[in-house]
Symmetry: C2
Subunit: 421 residues, 2 copies
Amino acid sequence: MKEKRKIGRGVCVVGAGMSRFGMFPDKDSKDLFIEAYNEMISSVDKGVNPDDIDALYLGNFSNDYFVHQAHWAPIIADAIGHTPKPATRTECACASSALAFKEGVFAIASGFYDVVLVGGMEEMSKCSTEEVTAGLASAAFPSELVAGLTFPGIFGVIASAYFSQYGCTKEDLFNITIKSHSNAVLNHKAQIPFTIRDIMNQKIERAMKKGTPVPHWKDEKEFLRDPKANPMVAYPMSLYDCCPISDGASCMLLVSEQMARQFTDNPLHVVGIGQGSGAGLQGSGPLTSLEATKQAASEAYKMSGFKPADIQFCEVHDCFSIAELIDMEDMGFFKPGEGYKAVDEGLTRRDGSMPINTSGGLKCKGHPVGATGIAQIYEVWEQLRGEAGERQIPNNDLRIGAVQNLGGTGGTSSVTILERR
Amino acid sequence: MKEKRKIGRGVCVVGAGMSRFGMFPDKDSKDLFIEAYNEMISSVDKGVNPDDIDALYLGNFSNDYFVHQAHWAPIIADAIGHTPKPATRTECACASSALAFKEGVFAIASGFYDVVLVGGMEEMSKCSTEEVTAGLASAAFPSELVAGLTFPGIFGVIASAYFSQYGCTKEDLFNITIKSHSNAVLNHKAQIPFTIRDIMNQKIERAMKKGTPVPHWKDEKEFLRDPKANPMVAYPMSLYDCCPISDGASCMLLVSEQMARQFTDNPLHVVGIGQGSGAGLQGSGPLTSLEATKQAASEAYKMSGFKPADIQFCEVHDCFSIAELIDMEDMGFFKPGEGYKAVDEGLTRRDGSMPINTSGGLKCKGHPVGATGIAQIYEVWEQLRGEAGERQIPNNDLRIGAVQNLGGTGGTSSVTILERR
C-alpha cells in the first residue's frame, strides 16, 4: 500500500438531509428520498441550484428483493429532476451508501465532476419479518448461510466469542443499549426515540389500562434482564440488542474544496476515506475483530494523517450491541477486549471522552440499510456544525468526527473522517 | 456542464480477460470470474503481482434475484485472494460493469489508488426463462412494468416507432442479425458462434437425421422470414432479433498512465468516459432515441476531444437488433433514421467504414448482463492491440474505439472511448 493515500483535490460536504426513519406503510423509496433531498437543498447555507448537480451516487442494498424493483439510480434521478445526468447505484450490503459517498468523493477528486449528490435509501417494512430476515441474510457470506445462520445468530456467535475471550457479559451490553436509547430520545428523526425508562413506563401504563398484572422493574437493567420484556433472539443477543427493521433515506451534497465557500461558510472537509473487504466468520482472523474495518480505518487514518486519539467522536455500525464494541476496538479507540470497560465507565456517552453513536445508532435511530452510511455521516454533519440540538456533544472545540459503516459480517467496511476547519 | 470534462491524471488499461459466454450449469459466478481473472493476469505483457491491486469494482445486475445471494463484491474478492482490500459493487442494470470501469477510472484519476481491477459477472441460466424475464423486467422503469411490458415488448414498441417514423422494415433488421452472426462465428468465446447459414444447415441436417420434412430456404433472409424458424417474440421482434440468456464474467486491469509502461508497451488510454440517465419510454424525448445515450456520448466526446467521425469502430448495446440502430444514431455515427440504411449498405460490417459489434454483439456473443459492459470494452482491447485474430478489423491504423453500454430502456447509458498511442 502507498505510504499515504492522497486525492488530487479536496472535497467538502456543503449540504445534508435525512428522512425520518421508521416503518412507513404509506411512503415508498421515492417519497423518502425526496424528503431527505428537500432538506438537503434547504440546508445549503448560500443555496444550490439543482441544475448544477453533475451526478448522483445512490446506495441501496436490495430493493430488488424488498420491493421487486431494481435499477433504482435512474428512478431516483427522475424523481428529483436530475435526468439525463449520470446516476449510479453502489451496493455492499449495509455499507452501500458509505460507498456512494466514497465514489462521490472520487468523482470530484478526479476532476471530472464538481458537484455531486450522494445518498441512499431502503424500503424494508413492506415485507414480513421473515422475508426481511431472509433478504438480509443474502448479504452474509455463503459459508455463513450454509451453516444455517442469519444475522442475529452471526452476531450471537461473535458475542459469545467476545464474552469468552474477554470476560464481558450481557450486563455490559445493557450499558450500550441504555446509552443508545438515551441519545435517541433527543433525535426527532429516530425510529425509537425513547429511553429504556420511557419504554418501561409505557409497558406499565399499558398494563394498567388493560387491567393485566402491572410489571415492576427496579431499574433499566432489571428490565433488560427480564426475558418477557427483552426476549432472547439468538443467544446471547436479546431483542434490545438488535436494531429494528426500517424505511428511510439520506443524502449529502459534495463539492470540490475550491468551490465550497460558494455554498457555505461552514463546509466540512472530507479528510479521510477508507474501505476494506473480508470473508465474514470464514475469514482467518479472530471472531472478535473484523479485518475489513481495520483495513478501512488504516486507509482513512493514512489519508487524514490522524490517529485514533485525534478522532473526537464517532458513529459506528451497531446493527447489534456487540458490533458497537467490535467496531470501536477495530477503529483503535480502545484496545481489544477493553471496549466494554470503556462503556461501563461512561466514556462513550455524549458527555464522555469518546462519544459513540450520539444519534442513537442503528439500534435506536433505525437501520434502513442502504440509507445508513450517509445517515451516520449526517450525525457528524450536525455535530460538527453545532446543529445537533439537545444531542450536541458538550465540547466547544468539536472539529473531527468519524464514521464506520459495516456491510454483512465485515464483508465490507468503510471509514470516513470529516473535519471542520 | 463544464466546457470540457477532465480527469486529474490519465488512466490506462493494461490487462483484460473474459470467460466464455454461454449457459453453464456446472459453473457458478466465482468460477466464471476466476476464468476471466486468470486470463487477465496472463494478458499483462510484463506481468502483474496480484498483491499490487489496490481495489476491485464489480458490476452485477441482480445475482440477488438470479441466485439469491447479494453482496458479491467481497465474495469475488475472497475468491481471488484480494481481501482485505476494498471491493465495491456497482449496479445500473445491463450497464453495471461499464460503471465499474468508470468508477475504477475515477479511483485512479483521483490519485487515491494506482492499480484497480474492474469486472462484472452474471449467473442467469439457473433460473427458468420465465424467472429470467421477470428478473430482467425489474430493471425497466416502473411505468413500463405497469403497462405490462417486459423487455422484448419495450424494444418492440421502439422498433414500431422507428419503422413508422423512418420507413425501416423487419427486412432491414435482418441485415443486422446476419452481420452479428458473421462476426460471432469468428469469436470462440461467443455463446452462438454460428452464421445464420450454419444454423440453417444445422436445422436441415437435424431434419434429415430425424427423417422429418427437410426445410428449404433459398437464403438467410428467407430463413429469417419463416415464422417456424424465427418465431415472433413481441412484434416486431422475432427470436433472431433478441440476445440469449447467458452466464459469464469479464475483467480489466486499470493503472495510472504514469505506471502503464511498467506493465506493457502497448497500453490503451482511457480518453473518454460519459454517462447519462433517463426515464425509459416515459421520458420526454421521441421513442426512437435515448437521451441517456446522447448525454453519455456528449460527456465522453467532450473529455476526449473527439467527434463521432473520429471513432473508428464501436461496440454498441444490441440487446435487440433495433437497439443497435438507436445506439449508433445516438452515438452520432449516423443521422436519425439513417442507421438502417448504413447497415443495408454494409458500412457496419467488419470491412465497412464503421464496423459495429465485431465481437458478435450481445445478440451472438451473449449477454450475462453484469459482465457485458467490460466484455464490450474487451473487444476494443483485442481490436486495438491487433489481437482479434480472424475478427481483426482490416485497418492498419486502428487507434480509436468506443463502447456504448445501455441499462434498461435507457435508464442508464455509458460511453467509453479508448485510444492506442
